[in-house]
Amino acid sequence: MNSLKIDNLQASIDDKSILRGLSLEIPKGEVHAIMGPNGSGKSTLAKVLSGHPDYEVTGGTATLDDDSLLGLEPDEISRLGLFLAFQYPMEVPGVSIANFIRAALNARLKEGEKIKAVEYYKDLYAHMDDLGMDRKFTSRSLNDGFSGGEKKRCEILQMSMLSPKYAILDETDSGLDIDALRVVSDGVNRMRNPERGILVITHYQRLLDYIVPDYVHVMSEGKIVRTGGKELALELEDRGYDWIKQEAVAS
């Protein structure tokens, strides 16, 4: 129904199994965080849900509201309303941010509909102001030569312009200094509303001081091994991941 629902999802790359029966439901209006040690499959989850061609889904389901995501092309999934903020946004030389976002919005229009340039730029500038981005950015090539912070801001800008139903933020805090982290988090927090579900993937608790989640999940060996409230993140910060791994093995 009104959720991003993943049930017993299994996926592999080059015959190596990464996701091993992962289940998770993110209803609209909630922010969930996935934490976990390196190599637990967090980024794989983001890519599989987005339809990355390198991964093979070997079992389970994933639905956005009532639409199955599995087997769809990445652009179809995007247009259904799933946005992925990349850990490492790609550089696209010669394509300006303004043109790229406009093309992405255009791809969502029905035949015969058109984006009005004046309104588009008004909207774009308003979002850029919110993110403290210089307006000169609109004519810069997408991510080309950007600093880490600029790239992440640009991801949040795209997210706010495309206004997705669900957003996955993959290690958005990596490579950010504390000021950039605050700006980016503010951007995400502005997008929290009852009509949108957000999944934050992070290795560190620090980000969750700024984007406070409703639920925290711990991922290990390709599945969710523990779920709790925001205090779980603090516990992980304190005790590390090993005890959870051991508990998972014990059970």
Partner: protein, 468 residues
């Protein structure tokens, strides 16, 4: 500004032809008789027939340049080509007088419409001869000449003969010799001293007949201090058999003159396009070749500038797009022959599928000169794993008072880039198009607005179905 829908020229748009009755047909194959026939139909003076016959013998003596160029040249069968086809009409000054089948062809290509919108003059060539040639009246009053080569030779022999064959000698290469033997059509342009054309002149070269060879010959003379922009477009239908297009273009920019020569070629994939283009730039003159090569089976084209006068400037800006089964072998020649001459070459190529693009650049600066500069940048973008690119720079610089800079790069559109763009909702072909348009964006701005819109559309169309 012209919207894309008005300039609806695409790769399939040229794919039609009309059955046409030709009053003059030189038959199939190449011989002395064919050359004599062409010269006779054109009622040429004996010196020109003589020139043609010598050229034919030069052509026959010269080997195919396969020691450095592609072996695909061997697949051209000169014996099955038709070298001259025309209805025998004089070029009309109004579209109403143009025969219907020819008029319909150019209507479908949008030429009369473009003429009304932004051109100072138009020449439209259908197979061997110009069917239409017209220029704004006020330009004629200023002494500007814009006619076909046949008319130029007849009406203005004193200017024509002085420069004809002087920039590119017959024996320059096998195909310049072939063109010199059988040439027909092309433009003859003279801009009087100090006259600066605000709007471009345009020629459109259309191949309509199968097994046909088009050999236009263009000569542009910009007298002292004058300025002109000339644009040419080309299309042909998709026939089963191959078609040959082999032009010779000579430009003369006298002291302080400026010539910009813009080409947008959109040949169908069976055309061998083997063209020789060269300019002479006198003192403080400037020549710019702006060239976009889309389509054809094989294009070989290396526009050049001989920088003959002090402070002369030469530039080649080119975009080449090689799709499946195509080879774009393009480049530039800059011959510095005076002090303080400067040249600039910017070349970008895109290879799609198993398409191949080659860049050949020649830069010459003899040691006795000083203050000469050349800058060359050539960048290649590969779309698929099978795509190919190669670069052959030939730089001869002597002396220590000159400077040369050469930069080359090769990049590839990565699967991760495409995934990133698709994740934002763009289809795969659209994502590819954006990457390619991004790659050539800075060069597309060098084309006149009306052409840059068309170019972007052409690139989009080339990208469709090219993915995988």
């Amino acid at each position: 500004m012209i919207s894309p829908s008005q300039l609806d020229v695409d790769r399939d748009k040229g794919d039609f032809h009309y059955d046409t009755d030709y009053a003059f047909d030189a038959g199939i194959g190449l011989s002395e008789d064919v050359v004599r026939y062409i010269s006779e139909v054109k009622k040429e003076d004996p010196w020109m027939l003589d020139f043609r016959l010598k050229a034919l013998s030069t052509f026959e003596k010269k080997p195919m340049p396969t020691h450095w160029a592609t072996d695909d040249l061997k697949n051209i069968n000169f014996d099955v080509i038709r070298y001259y086809l025309s209805k025998g009409q004089q070029p009309s000054r109004t579209w109403d007088e143009v025969p219907d089948d020819i008029k319909n062809t150019f209507e479908r290509l949008g030429i009369p419409e473009q003429e009304r919108k932004f051109l100072a003059g138009v020449e439209a060539q259908f197979d061997s001869e110009a069917a239409y040639s017209n220029m704004k009246e006020d330009l004629a009053k200023e002494g500007v000449i814009f006619v076909g080569s046949t008319e130029g030779l007849k009406e203005h022999p004193e200017i024509f003969r002085k420069w004809f064959g002087k920039v590119i000698p017959t024996s320059d290469n096998k195909f310049s010799a072939l063109n010199s033997a059988v040439f027909s059509g092309g433009s003859f342009i003279y801009i009087p001293p100090g006259v600066k054309l605000a709007q471009p002149l345009q020629a459109y070269f259309r191949i309509n007949a199968e097994n046909f060879g088009q050999f236009e010959r263009t000569l542009i003379i910009a007298d002292e201090g004058s300025e002109v922009m000339y644009m040419e477009g080309c299309t042909a239908p998709k026939f089963e058999t191959s078609t040959l297009h082999s032009a010779v273009v000579e430009l003369v920019a006298l002291k302080g003159a400026k010539i910009q020569y813009v080409t947008v070629q959109n040949w169908s994939n069976n055309v061998f396009n083997l063209v020789t283009k060269r300019a002479i730039a006198e003192e403080e003159a400037e020549v710019r070749w702006i060239d976009c090569n889309i389509g054809s089976r094989l294009t070989m084209k290396y526009p050049g500038v001989i920088l003959k006068g002090r402070k002369a400037r030469g530039e080649v800006v080119s975009i080449a797009l090689a799709n499946d089964g195509q080879h774009q072998d393009t480049g530039a020649k800059m011959v510095h022959a005076a002090d303080e001459t400067t040249s600039n070459v910017v070349s970008k190529s895109i290879s799609i599928g198993d398409g191949r693009s080659s860049y050949r650049g020649l830069v010459q600066m003899p040691g006795h000169l000083k203050g000469c500069k050349n800058n060359t940048e050539c960048d290649a973008l590969l779309i698929n794993n099978k795509s190919q690119t190669d670069t052959y720079p030939a730089i001869t610089v002597q002396g220590d008072a000159n400077s040369v800079q050469h930069e080359a790069s090769v990049s590839k559109v990565s699967a991760e880039q495409i995934f990133y763009m698709k994740q934002r909702g763009l289809g795969e072909a659209e994502a590819m198009s954006l990457c390619v348009n991004g790659f050539v964006n800075d060069l597309i701005r060098e084309f006149p607005m009306e052409y840059s819109v068309e170019l972007k559309r052409l690139i989009d169309l080339e990208m469709e179905g090219s993915v995988g």
